[in-house]
Symmetry: C2
Subunit: 418 residues, 2 copies
DNA sequence: AGTGTTCGTCGGATGGGACAACAAACTAGG
DNA sequence: CCTAGTTTGTTGTCCCATCCGACGAACACT
């Protein structure tokens, strides 16, 4: 991720190596300086110097001494200090959520606030979100944590550069300067706020800490009210020129008889979105179609019926699964990912979808053996987008550790000695 | 493109800055050392040192002195030396071709050898290709050029790492170790040979030197026997995990009545490939459907009929154009490119396609104003893949200028003085 | 207790870039 | 013609980051 068109001086070099040591600790766990040197190819003396600087920044600290590690002097392990954190926030149709992750990837705090976002409108929803973020930040500060960055996920088309939401049909928002609006609502000096599509953030989360952690080529497909997607290719998120990439919901491969929420006929979303599933498995007066009932509960009921072998339910799921496989096949042909991760309700009903879906998939993928692609169900659940957001904030630290500089004050001395 | 997981020492730093100076000269033309310093942000003294090293490598040389450039001492311009070259080769259905491009991007040599590749088979075709490559290399050497690298484009699924072709249905090849086979056939020590899908190379060529040169987000779609595609996102080529990415021809969005060459029904290729066009605009006994006639000639005839306003022809082209727009809309929704480049016969008949295609496109793209995407017809014609191959070979030099080291002997002295 | 091994640090060497000063080469103007 | 002013490119010096060799420290094993 090093900028190829910037001049490289010693500062650049130092930053690169600082980042490399920090990432080594993240990816392979606590270890001695000698071991880091062996891992990275850097000189032992250099590693000592780098670790000292990272320690001064509050990013790493000395851990245990390696006892019983065979012959020779035991190593003094270095580990990532969990003080610095990233904050991920999410606005969805019926809730806002905030999640704080420390540099070690551990969850510090997670708060989900149910809200009727479309009814509440932009202003009040952002007020609520700002309160939730400020509360999480205060809470983190009280336990000695620092927030190094904030990323907000929104279910719509986002231009990341200025942090502007262009259009989010599911919550009815249009042209909202999310980043600026939040900065204005948050007290005190605020670190940079990034804004990103929620499915993109979920894809990043799956790639970084899901069941397939570390996968550099991954496509995330989530089924909720709409159908969203995020693509990670060769380790980087695909955004497109203006950040409009990954709009997979409106591929014209669905049944032309069904009208999509976007107004067009034959969108994929109209064949595999939540509405399509409910249409297939239930009648109008069936309680599972009642939007006032919690989605989790309704899905549990459908899962129950499927498990009992109910014909209508199974046929409906199979139909949706086949349509799902058709679209996923396109994604596999285009991106040749290592793994496809299914999220949202696809994950919840995954076991019943998979047979029909994989049958269709195998029919449509050109590459032999699906191009080495496997299908997986998301295990991150509703926290995926938030986790991805926190991850993005942390990634900035892993790319340029020195960026956390000054802001980080040493933990308040409990005793009070000068 | 700098490896983020390798230790950075001074050598790394030097390489980075050497590359930056060389790219500055490529992108902005000959200029003085002082100007390079201003462009890159490097110090004047550093630039002098870097230029001296590049000159010693034979990559740049002193050019004219800037006369009449206003007040002050005129600058001694530095320009890219065209001695070092990249070689691109292409295997297609009815020809093999070789193109040599010098470091300034100028064409040194282009040879196209008509061959009936499917009938000739793997061995003999590779023999012919090796002869063509060796001849081009000898020819280049005779005029004082050095080949720094070779890239071969193949119309099929390629695994780039070992340089192996997995499957190329249009020429009937399967599991061919292209790189190794060529090395064995070429005399003398051979620089690394890369192998890549031909549409991917064309996409790179369009992005690097087509009408939209410099575009970092670009999708190339070519219509020939099959329909191929190459995607460049954020400046890098999408390959996928195993290099199977970009298979756009078999998206299931075509008329289910038509069978594709792959055996499936409803592939996009079956609706917009060359066979589909001919089916729409001509009867079985029409000369334009005669495969023994050169494709260029047949396309010219179709273009003539369209220009005269022939109803059958225009309706046929419109039908294909609409189908083309449908598929392209998917690509725009997924990749949000800055430009879509149409190649192959799409480019040849472009003016007649565009209206129907753009109408369908606008109907199907979700992002406002097509997400800022424009449609363009390729101007590189049949040389696109070769150009892309040569470009890839040159790109290695622009990434690590020092890599051309030792091999480059100073041009033979014509006089013969010791 | 002695030996061998590994860890972490110290001092010096190497090398690359930044900075300031300077000579060179040109224009403009008297 | 000559001088002042400007820009270029080189030189010498300094700074800084990494590398290398050596050394003390800490441990296991005999």
């Amino acid at each position: 991720m090093t900028d190829t068109s910037a001049p490289a001086d010693q500062v650049f070099l130092r930053r690169h190596n600082l980042a490399m040591v920090l990432r080594d600790l993240r990816d392979h766990g606590p270890r001695s300086r000698a071991r880091i040197a062996a891992d990275t190819g850097l000189n032992k003396a250099t590693v000592s110097s780098l670790v000292a600087e990272l320690a001064e920044l509050g990013l790493v600290r000395d851990g245990d001494v390696e006892r019983g590690g065979g012959v020779g002097r035991p190593g003094q392990t270095v580990e990532i200090d969990g003080r610095v954190c990233g904050l991920g926030a999410e606005v969805n149709v019926d809730y806002v959520a905030v999640l704080v992750l420390d540099l070690r990837g551990e969850e510090v705090r997670y708060v989900r606030t149910p809200l009727d976002v479309p009814r509440l409108g932009v202003e009040k929803t952002l007020d609520e979100l700002a309160v939730a973020i400020a509360a999480a930040a205060d809470d983190a500060a009280a336990t000695g944590h620092d927030i190094a960055g904030i990323t907000v996920g929104i279910p719509g088309m986002v231009e990341t550069a200025p942090g502007v939401l262009r259009h989010a049909p599911n919550i009815g928002w249009r042209e909202v300067r999310i980043a600026d609006e939040l900065v204005a609502r948050l007290p005190g000096p605020v670190t940079a706020i990034r804004v990103e599509n929620d499915a993109n953030l979920s894809a990043l989360a799956e790639s970084a800490m899901g069941a397939s952690a570390g996968t550099a080529d991954l496509v995330y497909v989530t089924g909720e009210t709409g159908v969203g997607g995020g693509v990670i290719s060769d380790g980087v998120l695909l955004r497109g020129t203006e950040g409009y990439g990954g709009e997979i919901g409106h591929m014209p491969i669905g049944d032309p008889a069904h009208r999509c929420g976007c107004g067009k006929l034959g969108c994929w979303e109209a064949s595999v979105g939540l509405a399509a599933l409910l249409r297939e498995v239930a009648d109008k007066d069936d309680p599972v179609t009642d939007p006032s009932v919690d989605l989790e509960v309704r899905l549990a009921e459908i899962r129950r019926r499927a498990a009992l072998g109910d014909g209508r339910t199974l046929r409906g799921i199979e139909a949706v699964g086949t349509a799902l496989g058709l679209g996923v096949a396109i994604l596999v042909n285009l991106f040749n990912p290592r793994v496809i991760v299914l999220g949202g309700y696809f994950a919840a009903l995954g076991e019943f979808f998979l047979p029909a879906m994989e049958t269709e998939l195998d029919k449509r993928v050109v590459a032999p053996a699906r191009g080495g692609c496997r299908i997986e169900l998301s295990a991150l659940g509703f926290t995926a987008a938030c986790r991805g957001g926190a991850h993005v904030a942390l990634e900035a630290v892993f790319t340029d550790p020195a960026s956390v500089a000054v802001a980080t004050v040493p933990t308040p001395l409990p005793g009070g000695m000068a």
